[in-house]
Amino acid sequence: MGRSLLDWRGWTGFLAIGFILLVVLPLMNAWAAPGSAFSLPNYLVPLLGKYACYAILALSLDLVWGYAGILSLGHGAFFALGGYCMGMYLMRQIGTRGVYGNPILPDFMVFLNYKELPWFWHGFDHFWFAAPMIVIVPSLLALALGWFAFRSRVTGVYLSIITQAMTFALLLAFFRNDMGLGGNNGMTDFKDILGFSVQADGTRAVLCFASAVALAIFLVIAGAVVGSRFGKALTAVRDAESRMRFLGYRVEGYKLFVFVLSAAMAGVAGALYVPQVGIINPSEFSPGNSIEAVLWVAVGGRGTLIGPVIGAFIVNFGKTWLTGALPEVWLFALGAMFIAVTLFLPRGVVGLWSQIRTRGATRKARVPA
């Protein structure tokens, strides 16, 4: 465990995935003859883009869980907050094309008899304002929560419960109509992003591509962080926190930085996700979503960076396929997967690979003895 992305095996895996996502898939979508075996149908493009967003969420979770030992059961909240920031921008782009044709107020506000835009909506009509907010809002929440939790030395299961409570509290808050964020219906019926129609195939392909690029960039950032001396100290905090304190490290700073970085990544993932699925509503805050993300990390291999990315793709392909083929089975499959991974694959799919390798190596080593 804890193998850095920066060694050559990590890099090969990363380059292979990056190559497929960034080069092969767009080519298959744009130039392969429709109907041929190599053609990537248009309906798969937003699906892949969605998975890339999930993969970023899994990666961000691995950064805190795999490398800092912070099992967040509320990472979906950061994802959803980023999504809401993007949703607010997209709502303001609708302009007079809404059902009520109000140039300023989104439809749900007209419906709820709002007379003017709530203060926190100002600026969201500009992308230059919304874009930094996508990072800032989740980061501030993570900073506030982490500040109090880490300073009070809340760790382990108690910290997990706090993160779970946080996302549940936000779920309840965002359900309320007077939050001014669309209540339980959330925000939808988006028209344009940066002047391009969100429905157009070209825009969808670009969004899918952007998600893959973001995933690649975050993999590099996460790899650099865990491969640095900071990363060494961070995993040492994970393994023996009090020992690090007695060595003179102020462990709160380490945890807080990585928690905020992780929240920012999750926020970007949520923001890329919303235009591709066309809706953001409070169900994104539901604790089940965050727990599912933990499963992606566990399936792929905690503390490997690349593993959670693979895990997110595997589990979500399975989910898409199974909820289509046998919808009633999905939840049981999810539960069975959780048990199977815990029992048989404690280090996930990536761990299985190295397990096979070391087993082979020890067998070879035993023969001459």
Binding site: R229, F246, L247, R250, G253
Partner: protein, 253 residues
């Protein structure tokens, strides 16, 4: 009590009237203790005498209910946390060897190396030539050069003890607190450890908590006997061994 007089001494570690109670049980009861710069002190006492609590108080893990704990004549340790105290120059070796299992021997030493501690500076830090030289030096002192790229988890018990001593050298504290260093060691290893501590004591002050009498005898230093959270006797091992109160609570059993 001549408190002001004692404070003006050049003591490296000064405890006065320290009391710690857990749910009414006094783990430390009005304990006073002085350790001079350059000194090595052995602390003995039966189970529950307060030895580990005393270490916890000095390293900031436990806050005393009453009393003064002063380091180096200026730092009030009751107001500082573990990281501050470690930075001031107090190192601690635990009873059970605690090395970082998922880090290599060299990285273990690098983490312990005195100097960089803040997260934002470590993000971009690369080990300097001076740091690498110091690591090589320590690796040769603890004779673990060939194992420097081995993970901590794969070391034997003895190797972990050595690595931990190397980490303490890297940390370079003014005062070293050592908790039962020879627990689970063979006679030969015990003897070697006594030599190593004497070697370390040339440049560092050391406080050793130990049960093993032959080890304490081998150290040949001033001994403090703790009993029920207070100091019972102090002197050479022969002096305290001859003290009837000590015999009664500890050696006589």
């Amino acid at each position: 009590m001549s408190m002001t007089e004692q404070r003006s001494t050049s003591a490296l570690l000064y405890l006065s009237g320290v009391t710690v109670s857990f749910d009414g049980f006094k783990a430390l009861n009005n304990l006073s203790l002085l350790v001079e710069p350059g000194e090595m002190r052995a602390i003995i006492g039966p189970n529950g005498a307060g030895k580990t609590t005393m270490m916890d108080v000095v390293t900031g893990k436990t806050r005393p209910d009453e009393g003064e704990v002063v380091f180096d004549g200026r730092a009030d340790l009751t107001k500082l946390d573990e990281a501050d105290i470690a930075t001031l120059g107090i190192g601690r070796k635990f009873q059970k060897p605690t090395v970082f299992e998922n880090h290599t021997v060299r990285d273990n030493l690098l983490l312990a190396l005195a100097g960089l501690r803040s997260w934002y500076r470590l993000l971009l830090a690369v080990p300097t030539k001076a740091e690498n030289d110091r690591l090589d030096e320590i690796l040769s002192i603890i004779r673990m050069g060939p194992q420097q790229h081995m993970l901590g988890a794969r070391l034997s018990h003895g190797q972990k003890q050595w690595l931990e001593i190397g980490m303490l050298l890297a940390q370079d504290p003014k005062l070293l607190l050592v908790d039962e260093p020879v627990a689970g060691m063979t006679d030969v290893e015990t003897e070697t450890t006594a030599h190593v501590l004497q070697e370390i004591n040339r440049t560092h002050s050391v406080v050793v908590v130990e049960h093993d009498m032959s080890f304490v005898r081998a150290l040949g230093v001033k001994v403090t006997v703790l009993h029920e959270g207070s100091m019972l006797a102090e002197g050479t091992l022969d002096q305290v061994s001859a003290d009837p109160r000590v015999v009664e609570v500890y050696l006589g059993r």
